[in-house]
Subunit: 93 residues, 2 copies
């Protein structure tokens, strides 16, 4: 198959997974509900993405570095909001 | 830096992100709470991982195929449990 199609599939896959936490981030902002969402899952993804960035740096692979840096930032902000909402709920009780 | 270290970083990154939905899956099973968890996020990840598998098939890259196939399976099962719990809650009302 021609390279353009292969690259398009890879690019779409990368875009979907890199920005996958945007809906979760928006849902947290909208509903302010943290129940059911696993903090451990988000922390594991954040550490994994950080290690992908390190791997990209060691391999000098700018695509790996930039895609995972964007993904990491989104997950990081989502974790920050999650913890803030959790803290807010504790203070209410 | 030697290749063993670089490969170890990449392997750890891949393991963490591939199995990142295991804590979410276990939390759903344990608490049976779906509030706060974004279905859209999980569906977006599932489609993204499916496209990574297609990309791996087109590039004939067995590592890409197998890592994303495992990740996809875990997310798929998590979505199935999420929908079942949601349906159960609707039937209760």
């Amino acid at each position: 198959m021609c390279n353009i199609v292969i690259n398009a599939v890879g690019f779409t896959a990368a875009t979907l997974t890199t920005f996958s936490f945007v809906p979760q981030f928006l849902k947290l902002l909208k509903t302010k509900k943290t129940e059911g969402l696993s903090l451990m899952m988000m922390v594991q993804i954040a550490i994994g993405l950080l290690l992908w960035i390190v791997y990209g740096l060691l391999r000098k692979d700018i695509v790996l570095i930039s895609a995972n840096a964007v993904g990491f930032l989104i997950v990081f902000v989502t974790i920050a909001i999650f913890l803030r909402l959790k803290k807010g709920k504790k203070n209410e009780n």
